[in-house]
Amino acid sequence: MRRFYLLLVAVAVVGGALLYVAGKSKPASVGAVSDVPPANDGFKGYTLGSDSAPIEVVEYVDYECPICALFGTVQFPTIREQLIATGKVRWRIRDYPLRIPAHPNARYAALAAECAGEQGKFWPMVDSLFNHHSWAQTGQDVSALFRGFAQGTGLDVAKYDVCMQSQRYAGRIAASYQEGEQLGVNGTPTFFVNGRTYQGHATSDGIKSFVDSLLASLTTRR
């Protein structure tokens, strides 16, 4: 019995020491985009779908997040076809680049999407970021790759370069992140359907059934 308690103490000492050592590590600096204060310019994200759609889905996204990319490439085409194109849903994207070392280029990617959006190519740039997602979580310099995406989507690359170098929308992205935090976003992707948090899985089936139930309740109220 005494040996058992000695074993417990040994496990406790090793575990405690590991927690202590882990606690001494400093947070790594994240990303190539400098920290700027949130600048709320009134912009509430790019939308897809009819302005008169009865349902609005707001997606807080991190372009470096693998679930977001999977959702964007596998699930979103169905949503686009069945919910957005049919006029049921308006889809709104908000930036939520996670501030974690594993996502060093999340803010840079958000900046690329915003700079593309400035030239009316937000959605094609998002498609490029998600369709060629092998850049994510590598920690490599992605500036040339994203510039290639810009070229591929038909952007005026000179304007894109100026936008990226000046980090024109860094404040807007920070403001979107701050708003997300205030709404309780704690991971990506997070969805709000007509202001209500969607708790289900990030699948087209899950979102479609949630939207359909909301539509049914809206119809009943009328």
């Binding site: 019995m1 058992f4 074993l7 417990l8 496990v11 406790a12 575990g15 405690g16 590991l18 927690l19 882990a22 606690g23 590590s25 400093k26 947070p27 790594a28 991190d62 997040c65 693998p66 679930i67 999977l70 996670l98 974690i100 070392p101 594993a102 996502h103 979580q137 704690n186 991971g187 990506t188 992707p189 997070t190 899985h201 990030a202």
Partner: protein, 140 residues
């Protein structure tokens, strides 16, 4: 009796793993020592929160309960009682099923592996493998 000792030692190890993940999730640690970005990807996913609380907190509570019951069951006044063994089996089964669900999410939904979560999965599986046969013997 031996099975309660083994479970207590494993539960204590699991408690530290869960505590580490929980302390990261609430912002005490800046980064996870993971070797890959998988831990942070998993921790940053919406699935790392359940009923408004970090999933790791349920791990902390679960391992603490397993540790408390097993140590209590080793005390002379409870050593011959059946209930600690049965309770340990019930808690271990609950933890094992919950961990299986989380591992499923890592594999098929999040598409990222958190090594610490896998470490915890191994620990709870070992606890379950020790607790279940002990409970069966106890019932016989």
């Amino acid at each position: 009796m031996r099975h309660r000792q083994v479970i207590a030692a494993l539960a204590l190890a699991g408690l530290f793993v869960a505590l580490y993940l929980y302390l990261y999730k609430i912002g005490v640690y800046g980064e996870l020592k993971c070797g890959s970005g998988g831990c942070e990807t998993v921790q940053a996913s919406p699935y790392a929160i359940l009923l408004g609380q970090p999933v790791a907190l349920y791990g902390v509570l679960g391992y603490a309960a397993l540790l408390a019951v097993s140590v209590l069951g080793l005390q002379p006044r409870f050593a011959a009682r059946r209930w600690p063994t049965l309770l340990l089996a019930a808690l271990a089964t609950l933890g094992f099923l919950f961990t299986a669900y989380l591992t499923f999410l890592e594999m098929f939904v999040i598409h990222a592996w958190c090594r610490w979560c896998l470490g915890s999965a191994v620990i709870i599986t070992l606890i379950w493998l020790v607790a279940l046969p002990a409970a069966r013997r106890n019932r016989a």
